[in-house]
């Protein structure tokens, strides 16, 4: 059993009838995920994916009919804020939003409302989560990871696959892999997921994958040094990137530092985290 979701998690897919919705729902069904329903306003009553999945007009109707406790969102950019709010009011406990390009002011409002309702969100603009051998909710390819005792958290997409594949290569598996997404305002953050791994009896070690920008990795470093007993291995992408584009004075005043790779690596090292030079080095740094 992984953190956040396992083989009993019942998923509805908002936007199931779209190209991506269909493609990934099919992969999820193949993997064994309980995709119990889809949502597409105006198409309620249809069945998709060879008649395996019923489509509903709203998340509420879908949840009432299927007992779903999780919603995955793959609707277009302009419909995504409404879709998240709808999911939050429907009774699911976990929302995983894959949609990218959601305006930040929309996300601030959505996140405030979700906090108010006590609903957990992963994403937006994220690959979702994978509990190897049990369930995958999102787009992480299922065959690149095997069950194991390593917790993986990342705000990058394909870089995460790289790491999972590298782990599998040497026979290492994961309890859960959570792709939290790289948007400035999102649902679960590193710290939230690190805490879950710390509390999870099946997780022995944690891999945290970060990148330049913002200060989430620095905050995670502080959390690790203060609250974590399990070993953490990390890689930060963007060491070779030129100084990022600036957001005027206010951005610098608010963010403080520049969010450079060097700063993040220094903070994590200070917190006792083992740092990899490149992703394929990570397996060597894990305690075997």
């Amino acid at each position: 059993m992984g953190i956040l979701a396992d083989k009993n998690t019942r998923v509805v897919v908002q936007g199931i009838t779209g190209r991506e919705g269909m493609f990934h729902s099919e992969r999820m069904l193949e993997y064994g995920t309980q995709v119990v329903g889809g949502v597409r306003p105006g198409k309620g009553g249809e069945w998709v994916l060879d008649g395996k999945v019923p489509v509903f007009d709203s998340v509420k109707v879908a949840v009432d009919a299927t007992g779903a406790d999780c919603s995955m969102i793959v609707v277009p950019q302009s419909a995504a804020p409404d879709a998240m709010l709808e999911a939050a009011d429907s009774g699911v406990r976990l929302i995983i939003c894959l949609t990218e390009g959601i305006p930040i002011q929309d996300m601030m409002r959505v996140r405030a409302y979700l906090d108010f309702k006590g609903v957990q969100l992963i994403g937006p603009n994220c690959p979702g989560l994978l509990t190897p051998g049990q369930t995958k909710i999102g787009i992480i390819p299922g065959d690149i990871a095997i069950p194991g005792s390593i917790g993986v958290v990342s705000r990058s997409g394909t870089l995460t696959y790289e790491v999972l594949a590298a782990l599998k290569q040497v026979g290492l598996g994961a309890t859960t892999c959570v792709g939290i997404g790289g948007d400035p305002v999102k649902g679960l953050n590193y710290i939230d997921v690190l805490q879950m791994f710390e509390d999870d009896p099946l997780t022995d070690q944690v891999v945290m994958i970060g990148e330049i920008g913002g200060s989430d990795e620095e905050k995670a470093a502080e959390f690790i040094s203060q609250s974590m007993t399990k070993p953490v291995v990390s890689f930060i992408a963007g060491q070779s990137a030129p100084p990022g584009k600036r957001m005027g004075h206010a951005g610098a005043i608010v963010e403080g530092g520049e969010g450079s790779a060097a700063d993040k690596i220094a903070a994590l090292k200070k917190a006792g985290v083992q740092m990899a030079d490149h992703p394929e080095q990570i397996p060597d740094l894990l305690r075997k």
């Binding site: 787009i139 305002v185 060491q239 070779s240």
Partner: protein, 379 residues
């Protein structure tokens, strides 16, 4: 997307922020006419999307229309941090008694908009933030409520603003909030907001940055985009929905996902090479997009080798392979190409590419090493 000073101030003015009434000129003659119309002393300001124009000589005072013509002549065409000045703003010169900073941005940690004010405004505000952080007042705004009157009072109290100016400060801050909120800005800033010699508040310089993700609902801003401030290749990339940033190295990179793209650049450097670019083809890229990406990479004459690193998820290996083959047919590249293809439909993609003359790799490290070697060999 950054907006020019004159556009930002037009937006602020629309929401009730008092700004000096200036006009924009593209030639010295126009500048002279505007100065004549305005009368009195004017300031001629380069309109470039980069900071530090004052120190670079892009802002000049002119006592009369003739001086305005001269100033415009000096500034137009000037290069400021790599950008050429094609427009100047001519505005009445203002006698400044005090400079205040007032800006709104998104605090991603607090997940709330934050309004920032300081009585120590002006060009050195970032320095103030470092050396005298207590002079920087921050007030967060609940995103479900929007700005409230007490938020604005907290700012006025914090910067110890003369109480006679509270009403005017209220109007300005409320206007700036509306500009920020209604325009989906990530930054709306007045710096300096001055108290002039008549004791009135006036917004002298303005800056707005619009959330690129929100441009779909602001088509009017898209039309205002100043393409002169961008690399042609970057513009082409955006039109193909790619993210491309030109760098100074010799190994072109095409990767799906920003994090993996950066990691690929990092490992190229680790093995002694230099990346020529950052290029993220995004998720679910199709053949057409891949072809556009390759064209952009090869348009950089510094490129001595190209590294493809594709880890299929949404993106399918066979689609990428098709795009590469198409682009190679048209472009007939002469530089060596190293490809690593894993994940969704990678086998199908590899099969398609088998006939093409490409160097293949299994791991990221191997791919990087081969690309670095190939680039050295083709010099």
């Amino acid at each position: 997307m950054k907006l020019h000073e004159y556009i930002s101030k037009d937006i602020f003015a629309k929401y009730g922020v008092p700004v000096p009434k200036g006009e924009i000129a593209a030639t010295p003659e126009e500048a002279g006419k505007i100065a004549k119309k305005l009368g009195g002393r004017v300031v001629v300001k380069a309109q470039v999307l980069v900071g530090g124009r004052g120190k670079a000589g892009g802002v000049k005072l002119a006592a009369d229309p003739q001086e305005a013509v001269e100033a415009a002549k000096a500034i137009l065409g000037m290069d400021i941090k790599g950008l050429t000045v094609s427009k100047v703003l001519i505005a009445p010169a203002v006698e400044i008694a005090t400079e205040i900073y007032l800006g709104i941005t998104n605090d991603r940690t607090a997940r709330q908009p934050v309004i920032i004010a300081s009585a120590a405004g002006g060009v050195d505000i970032e320095e103030v933030a470092k050396t005298n952080p207590e002079k920087i007042i921050r007030v967060h705004v609940n995103p479900l409520l929007g700005v409230q009157d007490y938020n604005i009072r907290d700012l006025a109290i914090g910067i110890e603003l003369d109480r006679r100016l509270w009403d005017s400060f209220h109007t300005i801050t409320k206007g700036l909030w509306e500009a920020y909120h209604n325009s989906d800005a990530t930054l709306a800033e007045i710096n300096p907001l001055v108290i002039d010699d008549k004791g009135q508040l006036l917004g002298i310089d303005g800056k707005m940055v619009i959330d690129d993700s929100a441009l779909y609902r602001h088509p009017d801003f898209e039309e205002l985009r100043d393409l002169s401030a961008e690399e042609p290749a970057e513009i082409e990339a955006r039109q193909s929905d790619l993210t491309y940033i030109k760098l100074d190295g010799e190994i072109g990179c095409m990767v799906n996902g920003a994090g993996l793209a950066m990691a690929t650049m990092d490992i190229i450097k680790l093995f002694g090479g230099e990346p020529a670019n950052f290029l993220d083809i995004g998720g679910g890229a199709n053949a057409e997009k891949v072809a556009a990406a390759l064209r952009i990479i090869l348009s950089d004459p510094n490129v001595k080798a190209v590294l493809f690193n594709i880890f299929g998820g949404i993106t399918r290996g066979d689609e990428v392979a098709k795009g590469i083959l198409e682009a190679m047919d048209t472009l007939k590249p002469t530089v060596p190409m190293v490809i690593r293809l894993v994940g969704t439909n990678a086998a199908e993609g590899r099969a398609l590419l088998a006939e093409a003359n490409m160097i293949t790799a299994e791991t990221l490290a191997e791919a990087a090493q081969k690309a670095v070697e190939a680039a050295k060999g083709s010099k």
